[in-house]
């Protein structure tokens, strides 16, 4: 929840709290709010928003708080205001279930329209919402190729070079002095980059989990971890002290 607090803070020097990285020769900035910004093309990437997750659970009888969409959009608003991108790419699992975007309350729909005004907005389809979005600005696609990078929801085992993907909700665990601290992270080995989940009510999967096997060159893998008020970059080999 520190991201929500962080979203409402005035930050003078973005450079100090963000981390720079390079993916397949393209410069990128990891923002501690959980978004990736490509300055050259003014493109902002967020992944796994999982909007309407609370409502999706309520439909199945678990009355989770109905505030997650609002909170996620607040953080999204802050990160868009900060970088003022020309293009926004939402990298799939934009909604937690198939009917999510159709059932979206009007007030949130209007909010998204506000955020998209004057920008290009691309919804990449995810496994939770493969049918695209209903009644929202922007266009839907399964993949996007842009500026030498490929944007897709699920990382592909075949073509890692220049891939920006989500889906796995990567998180890294730092162990120091017999204490473990786990945080969502951007994970990159310089060839591909996995995005942290942006949705406020989403969990994480450790980089050491089997699902991550074969995705990265371990030697050059760096976890850009989302700290309380900045990104902490830790080499994979250094996670455990």
């Amino acid at each position: 929840m520190h991201r929500l607090a962080l979203a409402s803070m005035e930050i003078e020097d973005f450079g100090a709290v963000c981390a720079r990285t390079v993916v397949a020769g393209v410069e990128a900035v990891c923002d501690p709010l959980g978004a990736l910004y490509l300055p050259e093309t003014r493109l902002l990437v967020v992944s796994d928003l999982h909007l309407e997750k609370g409502a999706a659970f309520a439909r199945r009888g678990m009355m989770l708080p109905p505030y997650d969409t609002l909170a996620t959009l607040k953080v999204l608003e802050a990160v868009i205001a900060r970088h003022d991108p020309a293009i926004v790419v939402s990298l799939g699992d934009n909604f937690h279930d198939r009917v999510g975007s159709a059932h979206l309350p009007e007030v949130f729909r209007a909010k998204i329209a506000d955020l998209a005004r004057g920008r290009e907005w691309i919804w990449i389809n995810g496994n939770h919402d493969p049918d695209g979005t209903v009644g929202l600005p922007g266009r839907s696609a399964d993949e996007l190729h842009h500026a030498g990078l490929t944007f897709r929801h699920e990382p592909s085992l075949l073509s890692p070079l220049g891939e920006i993907a989500g889906h796995l909700h990567p998180a890294a665990t730092v162990v120091r002095r017999e204490k473990a601290v786990r945080r969502p992270c951007f994970a990159t080995d310089g060839r591909r980059l996995l995005m942290p989940a942006f949705g406020i009510m989403t969990g994480g999967l450790d980089l050491r989990h089997r699902a991550m096997t074969g995705l990265f060159e371990k030697q050059s893998l760096v976890a850009h971890m989302l700290g309380r008020d900045r990104i902490y970059s830790v080499r994979f080999a250094n996670l455990r002290g």
């Binding site: 199945r60 989770l64 708080p65 505030y67 002095r177 009510m201 989403t202």
Partner: protein
């Protein structure tokens, strides 16, 4: 033993009973006859009796005699519901009681059917029990909740005459007790004539239990009658007076192992109690290291595999073991063979717990129990002495029953709807007849019903997904059958930390991991997160090598390391009870009482008096001294480790604000050390800040609130409440969620809810729960009030004798919570240093 000889008393016993007692050469005991007479007359009763006093038989006599008079129900009669319900806190105890009860029933040839119903009872038998109930049903609180959530409950319970609660003192203090009290309220409505019989060990407040047993009405307190059995022989308790040096700190009591082993050798069967599971592992290991006679010594704690625990219990019952190392899993009254010695390693932390554990030795009340206390460090020597004095004085420090919690109420409300549509006002009347809920405001009850229906959020978007809805007649009913199915799957009040099964595997030649072997038990997930493959730890009495996590299992192999990391289990540490803390303070303040203490401890205290001062009973002693490049402050509040940790966190914040540059703190059960870059002694002398301001009660205001909301403790409490209240399911029909998924989302849900609806009913429940569960905050408040104006500051030029134990803890403990990002920064600095190196090349 006193014998009842009045004709009136004996006439209560039907002939088969009188003959049976006579044939055994026994006499019914006075309390058994008194209870029989009064319960037969329809009175609800609390029986307080020590172990071995024939409590169980006493509890069942009214039912057995009544059923004998009634005779067997002739075939073809109208449906007859159960006559007597027996509720036990443990499944195993219910099974044990069935064995014990069947003995007299068979020997006397009584026309009575007795059956158990637990989580292990096969579906077919449950079905049969519903159609053809036994006369006496032995069960657990969870099973009762399931039974009353069924539409057939009115028929099943209509003939209920007695409800017997075993180990009532341990049942009522938990959320299980709250759920049970609501179940009892329902039973009273279904069978208005029933009488309750509570069986209990000695407790501090019998009135609370007596109130719990009967229905309450607004403005009037009602109580069950009281029957007391005379106490048995006084236990013989000694403190191990070791020839070895008692260490300053630590919890292993390693120094005393040869003497402990000698004691085991001299007795038939010994029970060794410790306070935490990791202590149990260490003690077990240490004993086997010196077990030259290879005595059969076993290990028993809650994380071990069930099959393994049952094996130990079986061996114990058959007297095949010489000793068992155990935690509180063996506290309650299952009958174990012939235990003739209880050894308590480490301080007991509470006088009642000690009495209960000592009672495990020698289950015959006419012979004294024998027990040896083994303090692990010098402070524990005093604590053991205080507990020992308390045991002789009969002082008790059992926890209070506490107000009924709201999460449990939510679960009960949903269960009620699953049984039949209910009227909100009628249910409110029933709920408030249960003692723990007697003071529940109507408005709060309404909010709980709303919570059950749609989550009770200020933002009303879930109406169309409601789990319960109002019918045209104004009754609440479940929306669809899945709701009832979900309720039954998730019922109960015991929420486990996410745990992973530990499985032994064989390592292949190239370090590959083989297929699964035996399951050893469960270990908390957060502990495993700190391990890397190759690390070793102590579990199930073995040193294990961590191989990795596969699916939901932790794979381990046999290791030969001599220096294992030790499992750190959550919630294993009991806080020092307020009563014992006060006794220890009193002992320190009164050199007259030092005579009971070993010479080395006396010398230690005398030296402290000479170089600094001893903490007075109603005073807070603060010592400040420099050491190395740092300045230390040591305080001696004696309020338990958890309270001290909270205090340490709050003091550090204040010192930080005062610009004194604090670096860290560490807490023990007795004292607290804070260290800083600035000279704290000097700062206090010039009153920047003054000690009076530093320890002002207002620290429990905003600082505490801010910290609490962020703390792991509150999140864990929220998770428990959310699971019990049914906000988060542990299990969903068709797909079992793993503990991991529940934790992750519970923390996130907590954060979202706290930031958007901070006064939501579940957050209210969480805070109330945390405040009650963590009596430490209350203790801290009481302490700060007590010491106001009574702070004694000693500025020393070096460490004092009394400060040594807490100073030795430095480095073993680090601060949690706020330090998290600090650890991240540290890890990130590594990378920066590396990057700088690369740039320079």
């Amino acid at each position: 033993m006193s014998i009842i000889d009045s004709a009136a008393g004996l006439s209560l016993l039907p002939k088969p009973f009188a003959d049976w007692f006579a044939a055994k050469g026994w006499q019914p005991r006075a309390h058994q006859m008194e209870l029989l007479a009064r319960a037969t007359a329809g009175e609800s009763l609390l029986l307080i009796a020590p172990t071995g006093a024939g409590k169980t038989l006493a509890g069942f006599l009214p039912a057995l005699t009544d059923l004998t008079r009634r005779g067997r129900v002739p075939p073809g009669s109208a449906f007859t519901g159960i006559h007597t319900l027996y509720i036990s806190p443990l499944k195993a105890l219910a099974v044990d009681i069935e064995r014990n009860l069947m003995k007299p029933v068979t020997e006397m040839g009584l026309p009575i059917t007795v059956e158990t119903r637990t989580g292990d009872t096969p579906q077919a038998k449950r079905q049969r029990q519903r159609l053809n109930p036994p006369d006496i049903l032995l069960t657990t609180p969870e099973q009762l909740a399931l039974l009353i959530a069924n539409g057939e409950a009115p028929r099943f319970f209509k003939d209920l005459k007695y409800v017997v609660f075993d180990e009532l003192h341990s049942l009522v203090t938990s959320k299980r007790g709250h759920l049970l009290s609501l179940g009892l309220a329902r039973l009273r409505r279904l069978a208005p004539g029933l009488a309750t019989i509570g069986l209990s060990a000695t407790v501090a407040e019998p009135m609370e239990l007596r109130r719990w047993l009967v229905g309450q009405a607004p403005g009037v307190e009602s109580h069950a009658g009281l029957v007391t059995a005379p106490g048995g022989a006084k236990p013989i308790v000694t403190i191990l007076k070791s020839a070895e040096r008692v260490p300053w700190s630590g919890h292993s009591a390693k120094y005393a192992m040869p003497e402990v082993y000698a004691a085991i050798r001299e007795h038939r069967t010994s029970l060794l109690f410790v306070n935490t599971r990791s202590q149990a592992e260490i003690l077990f290991q240490e004993l086997w290291n010196i077990n030259e006679d290879t005595l059969p010594i076993a290990l028993h704690h809650g994380s071990l595999d069930v099959g393994q625990r049952r094996k130990v219990e079986q061996a114990m019952a058959e007297n095949r073991l010489r000793a068992v190392v155990a935690t509180s899993t063996l506290d309650l009254g299952i009958d174990w063979g012939d235990v003739d010695l209880v050894i308590h390693v480490g301080a007991p932390k509470g006088a009642s717990r000690l009495a209960q554990r000592i009672g495990r030795a020698n289950h015959r009340m006419d012979e004294p129990s024998r027990a040896i206390l083994v303090p692990a460090n010098r402070f524990e020597v005093m604590e053991c002495q205080a507990a020992l004095d308390a045991n002789y004085l009969g002082a008790q420090d059992t926890p209070p029953v506490g107000e009924g919690t709201l999460d449990v109420l939510a679960q009960h409300v949903l269960g009620t709807a699953c049984a039949a549509p209910f009227d909100e006002d009628a249910l409110f009347a029933e709920v408030t007849s249960a003692a723990p809920y007697a003071d529940l405001p109507r408005e709060k009850f309404g909010r709980i019903v709303q919570f059950v229906a749609t989550g009770g959020y200020a933002l009303k978007t879930y109406e169309r997904y409601a789990r319960i809805r109002r019918t045209a007649e104004g009754l609440w009913r479940v929306s669809n059958p899945q709701v009832a199915q979900q309720y039954r799957l998730n019922l109960g009040t015991i929420v486990e930390m996410p745990m992973l099964n530990v499985r032994m595997v064989r390592r292949g030649a190239k370090g590959t991991v083989g297929r699964g072997g035996a399951s050893l038990g469960k270990v908390e997930e957060y502990f495993l997160e700190m391990l890397s493959p190759g690390d070793t730890f102590l579990f199930s009495g073995k040193v294990l090598r961590f191989e990795g996590i596969r699916e939901n299992e932790c794979l381990v192999s046999q290791a030969f390391s001599l220096d294992p990391k030790v499992p750190a289990y959550a919630g294993g540490k009991f806080p020092l009870s307020t009563y014992l803390a006060d006794q220890v303070r009193g002992m320190l303040d009164d050199p007259q009482r030092w005579g009971q203490l070993p010479e080395q401890v006396r010398d230690w205290l005398a030296l402290q008096r000479d170089v600094s001062a001893l903490p007075r009973r109603d005073e807070l002693l603060i010592e400040t001294f420099p050491r190395g490049s740092r300045h230390y402050m040591v305080a001696y509040p004696f309020e338990g480790r958890l309270a001290h940790q909270t205090l340490g966190m709050l003091l550090t914040r204040r010192l930080e604000r005062a610009g004194r540059r604090p670096l860290g703190f560490v807490a023990t059960d007795y004292s607290l050390a804070v260290w800083a870059l600035d000279d704290l002694g000097h700062a206090f002398t010039i009153e920047r800040p003054s000690l009076r301001d530093l320890f002002d009660e207002d620290m429990l205001g905003d600082d505490l609130e801010a910290w609490l909301d962020e703390s792991f403790m509150l999140k864990r409490t929220f998770r428990n409440c959310a699971v019990i209240a049914g906000l988060i399911e542990q299990r969903h029909p068709g797909q079992e969620k793993t503990g991991r998924q529940v934790t992750v989302s519970a923390d996130l849900i907590y954060d979202v809810l706290r930031s958007h609806e901070p006064d939501h009913i579940l957050l209210e429940a969480t805070r109330a729960d945390a405040a009650a569960g963590l009596l430490d905050i209350q203790r801290l408040g009481d302490m700060l009030a007590r010491i106001r104006g009574h702070i004694a500051h000693r500025r020393l030029d070096r460490i004092s004798p009394l400060a040594v134990p807490v100073m030795l803890e430095i480095g073993r403990e680090t601060v949690a919570g706020e330090a998290q990002d600090f650890l991240l920064a540290e890890a990130a600095e590594d990378l920066i240093a590396e990057a700088m190196g690369e740039a320079g090349r």
